[in-house]
Amino acid sequence: MQVGIDLFVLRKSWLHEIDPRVKLFFVAVSIIILLVFKNIFFMLTALVLLHLLHWSAKIPRDRILFVWKTLMPVAILICVLWVVFYPAGDPLIQIWMVKITLVSLAQGAVLGLRIMTMAFVVFAWLYSTDQPSIVRSLVKLKMPFEWGLILALALRYIPTFQGMYAVISEAQQARALNISEGKGFGRVRTLMPIFVAMVISALRASDQLARALEARAFGAHGVERTYLRDISFRPLDWVFTFAIFATALLLLYLNFRYGFGRQPISLF
């Protein structure tokens, strides 16, 4: 049984339509902004806007919940750590040695939520862009085609190897290998007969893959590669790029010049 590793959600939406390079630009810029701003209201606004973004791109609710579920424990952990270790200002409540202050609570919440917002930025890109378009956009951004191909092939083979792992694990269990035994080192040691068979099978596949690539004229000399499906900037993409750029500049200017969003609670 193969489990898809593709995060892409096939929908018709404006976010799906725009050029993947614009989305990549958005991811890069957003992460910088999110790292610079440390204000709780700013972070909450960003979180709401990102949810609106996902909603407008028709991303199903379970995909959004998936991100929450996965990262919530980390976010809470970060929040607690800040509250416990970095108290600042007057304590709201004091439980034994731990002073809980409004500032550290806000600070902790900002850093915890930042993990979430950054994830939603990345997943807005990955949920709305199929793998070939991602690879194609990276190559258009001057990544050598070979590296794009490596990435595409790796993504293609992950589900295959996942299935292979499952089959090999069954085959070795049928030879009385007990794979639910042991913890840590002991467990990994037990799994070794599966790993070895899987690695050998995968390496055989790499040899055959190389032959298949050559049989399709890969590496033809003196030929410029053409592309059946290409991505291209449309006027709207320019508008988005400009809008992202302008918003980012404005926010950073306000931050540097007036301290906008630098404090956990007060906006300036």
Binding site: I168, E170, R175, I194, I200
Partner: protein, 293 residues
């Protein structure tokens, strides 16, 4: 010796399923209410199109899959709570691709892996390993890396590595795929020898020629249901049903059916059978012709 020759037909039921249903996750059921019994000492062919549920069914016999509904009984005992590793003592399962299990530095080690997992004494492990290598003619490759051997030999290693656990029941998933005529028949002869020693063998295959020639019993699955299960000759009588199921009948069987109106035996399964029948017919004609003159 553990494998004294026994009569190959017994009345003991070694495997039984009762209204077995199974679905992978939320998918539609892959098996729909299968009830069957397999007698100890049987040699059963399991056929059906890809996706008909052959492998899914077979994996229930050694506990790799557990029914979503219904029961699997091994020698009368429900196997629900028994782990795969324990069932492996009784039910051997050889996977389709030998490369999905070969991992050792020598053939000997590879074949000893199963018995060792069973917790046997080293002397017994050695004895079984040597015997398994002998049965499958692998002794000369004992110290070779099995992963580097040719495909036909890798296949034999993978079967020997399961056989060395001495399971009473042996399940093989398409063991002849990709083998040439010689390797195929060599392997089938060795399986027949194990069958004569009293092992129960379940052979999953697409090759109806092998079913016709080697397995006395045959089971046909279609869309997760048991379509036919009977003596092979009786199953072959339903040739229209088999063709509907995209099962390709051997040329000999088709030919026997076409020639039946002129007196050849309709249920011939193998070349010698058809040849005999046709020869008889000619001989009889010659007698009548001679008598007529």
């Amino acid at each position: 010796m553990a494998d004294e020759p026994m009569s190959s037909q017994t009345d003991t039921i070694c495997l039984e399923t009762r209204d077995l249903w199974f679905a992978y996750g939320d998918n539609p059921p892959a098996l729909r209410g299968i009830s069957l019994t397999i007698r100890a000492g049987d040699f059963v062919g399991l056929v059906g199109q890809n996706g008909s549920g052959k492998t899914t069914l077979a994996k229930h016999f050694n506990g790799l899959l557990r029914p979503t509904q219904g029961q699997v009984l091994l020698y009368g005992q429900d196997i629900r709570d028994r782990p795969v590793g324990e069932l492996a003592r009784t039910v051997g399962y050889v996977f389709q691709n030998p490369d999905h299990q070969i991992f050792s530095a020598t053939t000997r080690e590879e074949i000893a892996f199963g018995p060792r997992n069973l917790g046997l004494e080293e002397a017994e492990v050695q004895r079984r390993t040597e015997q398994a290598m002998e049965h499958f003619d692998l002794t000369e490759y004992a110290d070779h890396q099995p992963a580097v051997l040719g495909f036909g030999l890798r296949r034999k290693v993978s079967i020997a590595a399961v056989y060395s656990m001495r399971p009473q029941i042996l399940i093989l998933d398409e063991p002849t795929a990709g083998l040439d005529w010689h390797c195929t028949h060599d392997l089938m002869e060795r399986l027949t020898a194990l069958h004569r020693q009293g092992h129960t063998i379940i052979l999953i295959t697409h090759d109806m020629r092998l079913i016709a020639q080697y397995t006395p019993r045959c089971m046909v699955l279609r869309e997760g249901k048991l379509l036919l299960y009977d003596d092979t000759r009786k199953v072959f009588e339903h040739c229209d049903l088999l063709r509907e199921t995209h099962i390709e009948l051997p040329q000999v069987c088709e030919l026997a059916r076409e020639l039946a109106p002129i007196g050849v035996r309709r249920d011939a399964l193998t070349v010698p059978e058809l040849c005999d029948s046709y020869a008889d017919l000619i001989a009889r004609r010659e007698v009548t012709n001679a008598g007529g003159h």
